[in-house]
């Protein structure tokens, strides 16, 4: 067998810099299909959890528009409740047996960047349908 010619043993080491910057593919253009349905169309007021009335005022009230809006996933979605009070800003009333609070229906509120008040009774945000805008 023909022998090979001896060469000096050479070991090469190439070091790589670990890339710690992970380019996360953020869904900037993903939107929720947000259906404004809380209350079924009955007039009322909408409050945040801390009691702030987002529809305060005699001329202001909320009612479900029934429209499915495209709400950016980057928008704020606020936990709160809807009270079917006709929009009179009252959270309850006196009855013959005393003061009684109106029913508070838990909702998630989307204000469309502070321009409106839309509410859904589907509190499971993970179940909301999404789409690309």
């Amino acid at each position: 067998m023909e022998r090979r010619v001896w060469m000096r043993p050479v070991t090469g080491v190439q070091k790589f810099e670990a890339n710690e910057y992970v380019a996360a593919c953020h869904d900037w253009n993903t939107v929720y299909k947000f259906t404004c349905d809380a209350g079924g169309g009955a007039w009322g007021d909408v409050y945040t959890q801390d009691g702030t009335n987002l529809t305060e005022g005699r001329s202001r009230y909320y009612h479900a528009c029934g429209t499915t809006h495209e709400a950016s996933t980057q928008d704020d979605f606020i936990s709160g409740y809807y009270i079917q009070n006709g929009g009179n800003d009252k959270t309850g009333d006196w009855t013959w047996w005393g003061w009684e609070d109106y029913e508070k229906i838990p909702v998630i509120i989307w204000t469309d960047n502070g321009t409106d008040v839309h509410c859904t009774t589907n509190l499971d945000q993970d179940s909301w349908e999404t789409t690309k805008s």
Partner: protein, 120 residues
């Protein structure tokens, strides 16, 4: 302590270690084995060592071997002395420059130093 040829005093451990007849300390008698945390693979026609366990200083590194390095690495997959490897290398390679033995000793020394070879 001064000694003479007639001395019957036993040698200390350090003296025994340095004794010319003590072959255990000679590199030719010591056995070495390739570190199992590195495996040899051929990638795009090139022999490379891939760290598969504790990589130490070779973290995030690619270790490429030339033909003779690759040959030696394969031999050291089983524990061998330098003499074994030199003997095998002489069967495989011609050594016109007379550099083989020194090259193999240097290979062993460097690989042990960087943890690629371990002494058995």
């Amino acid at each position: 302590m001064e000694r003479d040829k007639q001395s019957s005093q036993p040698l200390s451990d350090s003296e025994l270690q340095r004794h010319p007849l003590n072959h255990e300390s000679e590199p030719g008698k010591r056995r070495f084995k390739a570190n199992p945390d590195f495996v040899l693979r051929e990638i795009a026609g090139e022999a490379v060592l891939i760290p598969v366990g504790e990589a130490g200083i070779f973290e995030n590194s690619l270790i490429s071997l030339n033909d003779t390095c690759s040959f030696l690495w394969k031999l050291f997959q089983t524990p061998r002395t330098a003499e074994d490897v030199i003997s095998q290398a002489k069967e495989e390679y011609e050594d016109p420059e007379g550099e083989m033995e020194q090259g193999i000793y240097s290979f062993i020394e460097d690989y042990v130093k960087y943890g690629l070879l371990k002494e058995e």
